[in-house]
């Protein structure tokens, strides 16, 4: 339903997309994962006819996004990263307007709006100006607006960014519902958990290129069986050397030198072995954890930096011995 082939796009000297290809089969969700500025939004803008690629081509619902932009617009729904609802209008007026501009008669637009307001639990606030809506309500209204014409292809650009956990779960529920109705969805997100939860397949984008593609399970398998995470009482020069023989591949060390991570094969007694090895080298250990790999780990091992540049320690981690 969505096919992108070697899309490139530059803004001045900045290369936002450097040849991105992927496809989304009908009725499935593709999760597009990447940090801020990776090129996700640019890809979505091209596929939704808001931008023209410098090179490469793309088809949505069988239509070329440049040559047949009008036909593409008839088949898609878009929920942009910044909710594009009209703040001066009420929720209902927003939906009716979108319906009318999509070619519905006023009466049909009104009944469709009422339907969507009910479905998205916005009926009570329907006739209030949207300026006073909460973040979650805005997102729901924005999503409702993109569904007015019952599009067969839906683009969701970071639909849950900035939402509280309850609103996020509600949004996930809605998205799952849409897929079960047969809608094809391209979902961009910074949240690995979200891609893990929702997406059939995942493409990981960084610096304008696809750096990995597959199901969540496949991506996790790529980086080995389990993750070992050790927290030291204080940084120690021999800590990495002590672990090297016990783990698969590289040991990653956080900037403060206290957190070490590595891929391991989960074996019985691994925790004991690790602590003994460190202790034998005079390293004091606060915490040892062995867990299945998360998409965070996948992302990290692929890019050498964390998914979210602003969030937590993942971004502080540095690869000590280079990415294998």
């Amino acid at each position: 339903m969505i096919e992108a082939d070697s899309l490139t796009k530059s803004f001045g000297a900045t290369k936002a997309l450097a040849g991105v290809s992927f496809s989304v089969p009908a009725g499935s969700i593709l999760g597009m994962l990447g940090p801020n500025g990776a090129g996700k939004t640019t890809a979505v803008r091209i596929l939704t006819t808001l931008a023209i690629p410098d090179d490469g081509q793309a088809k949505v619902a069988g239509h070329d996004v440049v040559a047949e932009a009008a036909a593409v617009r008839r088949s898609i729904g878009v929920t942009a990263q910044d909710a594009t609802i009209d703040e001066a209008l009420t929720g209902r007026q927003n939906l009716v307007m979108v319906g009318e501009l999509s070619g519905l008669k006023r009466k049909a637009a009104k009944s469709r709006a009422a339907e969507l307001l009910t479905r998205f639990d916005l009926l009570e606030a329907a006739d209030r100006v949207t300026k006073g809506y909460s973040g979650g309500m805005r997102r729901r209204l924005d999503l409702a607006a993109s569904l007015v014409t019952r599009p067969s292809v839906l683009f969701l650009d970071e639909p849950t960014t900035g939402l509280d956990p309850t609103s996020r779960l509600l949004m996930w529920q809605v998205i799952r519902g849409l897929v079960s109705e047969g809608t094809t969805i391209l979902l961009t997100t910074q949240y690995l958990e979200e891609a893990d939860e929702l997406a059939d397949r995942i493409v990981v984008i960084d610096h304008g290129t696809v750096i990995a593609e597959g199901t969540a399970a496949e991506l996790k398998r790529q980086i080995g069986g389990a993750r070992l995470s050790v927290t030291l009482a204080e940084p120690h020069p021999r800590a990495v050397a002590a672990l090297t023989g016990l783990v698969d591949g590289d040991v990653q060390v956080s900037q403060d030198g206290r957190r070490l991570q590595a891929a391991v094969r989960s074996t019985s007694g691994l925790g004991t072995t690790v602590v003994r090895a460190l202790d034998a080298n005079g390293v004091v250990v606060d915490d040892v954890e062995v867990r299945p790999p998360s998409l965070d780990d996948v992302f990290f091992s692929l890019t050498g930096h964390g998914a979210l540049d602003l969030e937590g320690e993942t971004c502080d981690l540095q690869v000590l011995e280079g990415v294998s």
Partner: protein, 281 residues
Amino acid sequence: MLTTTTLAPPSPALTRSGALARLHDVVVLVRRNLIHIAREPLQLSDVTVQPVLFTLLFVYVFGSGVPIHDGSYKDFAIAGLMLLNLTTSAMGTAVGLISDITTGAIDRFCTLPMWRSAVLVGRSLADLLSSALCIAIVAVTGLAIGWRPDASAGSILAGFAIALLFSYALSWACAALGVVSKGPESAQGVGLIILFPLAIVSNAMVPTAGMPGWLQVIANWNPVSSVTAAVRHLFGNPNPSATISAWPMQHPVLAAVAWSALILAVFAPLAAHLFRQKTTG
């Protein structure tokens, strides 16, 4: 791909084209923009409070100091006040358009199967309606303080029409300005720098005869002067510019229409072009 089926019901009524569909989109957006004007106090005051305030201030403050030969300043000033208000409030078009672009409202429109230029046409028409409200308020305020037109109803209506034609043309110039500006604040700033001198260096509020020679030339050829003189002429109000030999002052109605047509011819395609560029970056 064509053989895949989805469970979603087919999209309703989505095959549309032609002039009727375009007109429909324009009507929807005019309605939307009117709601905006009505709900945004600042924008509404531009066309409601400001005209009353300007009318009273100019008539009572300037009126005493500006001698008008064949009539009162009041009778002279109302046409000028209409143009002063129309010209300065034209900024609203630029500000509104760039607000829509920066808030992402335009992005939503541009992913819909609608006529994209309806965004511009809808805005220009909504602004035309608010301009009509604006000069109606100037007229009512004028009537309340003793302004009287002295011409046939047809001629008076023609006066209103010519003022609105100019205002409509100017809104397209402001649309072009809005599209290229960095944001609502910068549009407002730049708009003020252009529109305020345009409104003031004219015969709108004072006869140009008292200005320095070089400024007189500018004022006499200023489109605002042509339109103001034309409206005065059509209202049957005092029009001191009639004695000035500059061509636009001798043929104010023709000059007013010509200026408006020229501005439209240049800026409507330009605004549409810039808008297309901006929305398919």
